[in-house]
Amino acid sequence: MTEFLVFLPSGIAIGSVYALVALGLVLTYKTSGIFNFAHGGIAAVAAYLFYELHIRQGWHWAPAFLVSLLVVGVLGGLLVERLAALLGSAPTVMVVVATVGLLVLLQSLMTAIYGSANIFMKSYLPTNTLFTLGRFGVTVEDLAVTGFSLGAGAGLYVLFERTRIGKSTTAVVDDPNLLSLQGTNPAMVRRLSWIIGSCFAAVSGMFLAPKLGVSVNTLILLVIAAYGAAALGRFENLLLTVAGAMVIGVMVAYLPSQVSKISSNPLVQNLPGNTPFLLLFLVFLVAPTRLLTERGVANARRTRPIRTFSRPVTYGGFALLGAVLLLVPTFVPNAEMTQYASTLGYFIVFASLGMLVWMSGQISLCQMSFAAVGAATAGHMLQHGISWPLALLIAGAVAIPVGALVSITAIRFGGIYVAIATFGFAIAMQQVGYYTSILFGQAQRIDVPRPEILGVHFTEIVPFYYLCLAVAVLAGAVVLAVRASRLGSLLRAMSDSPTALAAHGANTTLIKVVVFCISAFLAALGGVVISGVPQNASGALTGPFSVTVSLVMVAVLGFAGRRPIASPLLAAILFQLIRIYPPFNTEGFLKYQGVIFGLLAIFVAISPALNIRGAIARVSSASGDRRDPSAGPVRARLDSAPVKPVALRSTPVGAEPELVGSGKGAGR
């Protein structure tokens, strides 16, 4: 017990920073219905700007802190608010694509400017000890950080519970037009909450800089602690969120000392660091469905089905594609063939992701974690002398229960929670999972040799390319088969009207889990192919299986279109292949490709709301439905969301072809 008390102060200090991050996240999600995956990115940008001003430019910390807060917190908050407004009626997957795009953009930008190394930064607050508690001294810094965070939390709580503007932040999600009718400007409410949220993120980034160093990757991974806290607060309750953050902080501070007594196994020792992730999953596991509602989906626009090509065009296209792919080795020098082989590997992963995203409306931010499971499993199998084709299948099969495990907990709550769970999983894999001996082990590396089958030396790159092509064709066939199957038609029915489908007795949760498992299976195949190119796999942060890659892939697929085969292929080419050809083979492009991908993803996600054609038309005739001016033209559709049962309405049914009446939100 006394030992516990010893860790309490530092635990509370950490917990209060987590609380700050989590509060910003919950606040903005509550107000806008947009879960901001770039929240950690905002914290990171603030930390870098602070570092730039304070250390590089030699400013005193106070003005540096203030300027970073104004630029990143206030200005950044306003920018993100614009983004969120434009995403107001976008489907969940596009919201995730956009915010993940923003994260990729910020991360790539910071890395391009400051490099990926962790930058050490001295404490800027005094670190002299004020008083001691047991073995631990409480420093001015700790006290200031804790005091500020708790004060900010308390202020936010009072604002939310006691004031009109606080209540408006909830009301604006329910019905911005009604709020406006009642005399409150909804745009102002949204701006306020995004500014508060971003300021909280910015402050926490600057608080953590001297503790953890300035590093975009560390800060992005750190938000998982905030996710855990937010989950404990059911993504809406501010008090519980703060309490959750404190619990996580104390556990993260206290448990390592206990765990080291029990076991010296590094895996076990790493577990306490994953408390947030474990708690996140625990919440998803035990929370009753009605307690976690997905916000903002009632207004979601339905995506138009893609135009199907006629049979001759489809078959002709596939024949041409097949011919080109078969002939690749004849016109590509051997030195570049590795790039083509790994492009096929990424195609498989993109195809698995595309199937999940465009067919089932779910999104996974841990696709490369599934691929890692595949690669590692294949590596182990091959070491035990199992033949390559069998190892490939086993690798895929092993990923299936993993996919089920990740998705099954979150799926019943709705799309955004699946995205959150998969993001958490990807981070946990990166931090702990990859180190286990069933994956890459402590050495973080496993050999995945190329095979020799029936006397063919696939160890040579050209034969190996054909082997990859065979696997890619298999994966593509699986995707097309799923589309054509009963499962595919159920999925289409589900995207039309999940409630109607459920009313017909179909188990929508099961359908979604099944798709998720197939997707994990395919991603694992992709992982085997990808690791076969360098003949080894590792869980390094810079390697192919890192969280970052999963995120970038989501961004790239987001703008590559919604076709089952062509889009993943295009995505894989953009992601992996173009970098060996001019004008993309420059250092500048490689450095900034994340920025470009992120921007494109954001643009594609918001483009329906930009309503470019409509804007041109509007210039000539100033008119239209401008109910909630902050939200741009999309909001025009909002008012029809609550469907009114009127029999004699003369409204032509086609008046609002893009609107989902209540659809996904029907459970509420």
Partner: protein, 232 residues
């Protein structure tokens, strides 16, 4: 006085209102009647600023407020209880009233509201989504009481409610009228509306087809205008 002058308005899908003029004199109750899809809701949306105009003017007490945002019009004393349930479903009854009330004046407003609608007082803490349809409509109607508006726009507040509740709601409307509020009333209960109204407008397919006092028309004429539109 609330005036709509020669309003033309509509949605991206097309023009709905053509040259609509409606005047709501101070202290008067104006009924706006017409078949489904005539454009009544659209008219109210224009009057409260939810929908922009293509041409025409909106005047509140002589001041031009055309194309102002709803929250600005609300500050001019315009209160619009919209079609459907005009409440925030995830907020409690008290918090709904907090948002309806003018910023400074919440405590008094809450007392006022619960004295007019005792049933809401009993349910102060309840999340409004979980209340019955009638209770929700009363909460929506509360806006007209607590915001102390000059002009009240009501869009089918009796929709989907049991006759007994409808009666109750009309009593509240009479009460508001007695307080000297100006009202623009869209109603499907034509007889009830006519009893309350000082002036009547009939709208069909986006234009005003009749304007006058309730005595000038029989219910039959109104029914015919409804049926005529349906038959066409």
């Amino acid at each position: 006085m609330l005036e709509l002058r020669n309003i033309t308005a509509g949605y991206d899908a097309g023009t709905v209102l053509r040259d609509v003029s409606i005047t709501v004199p101070d202290g008067a109750v104006v009924a706006l009647l017409g078949p489904n899809g005539a454009g009544k809701t659209t008219t109210l949306k224009v009057a409260s600023g939810l929908l922009g105009t293509r041409s025409g003017q909106i005047l509140v007490d002589g001041e031009d407020v055309t194309n102002k945002a709803p929250y600005q019009l609300a500050r001019h004393g315009v209160c619009h209880v919209p079609e459907g349930r005009g409440i925030f479903p995830s907020l409690s009854v008290t918090d709904n009233i907090r948002l309806q009330a003018p910023a400074r004046n919440f405590k008094a407003s809450l007392g006022n509201a619960t004295s007019v609608f005792p049933r809401l007082g009993e349910r102060a803490k309840q999340i409004s989504r979980t209340m019955s349809g009638g209770e929700q409509q009363m909460l929506a109607l509360c806006h007209a009481y607590v915001s102390d508006p000059q002009y009240i726009l009501l869009d089918e507040v009796s929709m989907g409610l049991a006759p007994k509740i409808v009666e109750e709601i009309f009593e509240y409307l009479h009460d508001l009228a007695r307080q000297g509020k100006s009202m623009l009333l869209v109603e499907q209960y034509v007889a009830q509306a006519l009893k309350l109204a000082d002036y009547v407008y009939i709208m069909d397919r986006g234009t005003i087809t009749f304007a006058g006092e309730p005595g000038e028309i029989s219910e039959e004429t109104i029914m015919n205008s409804y049926l005529g539109s349906l038959a066409s």
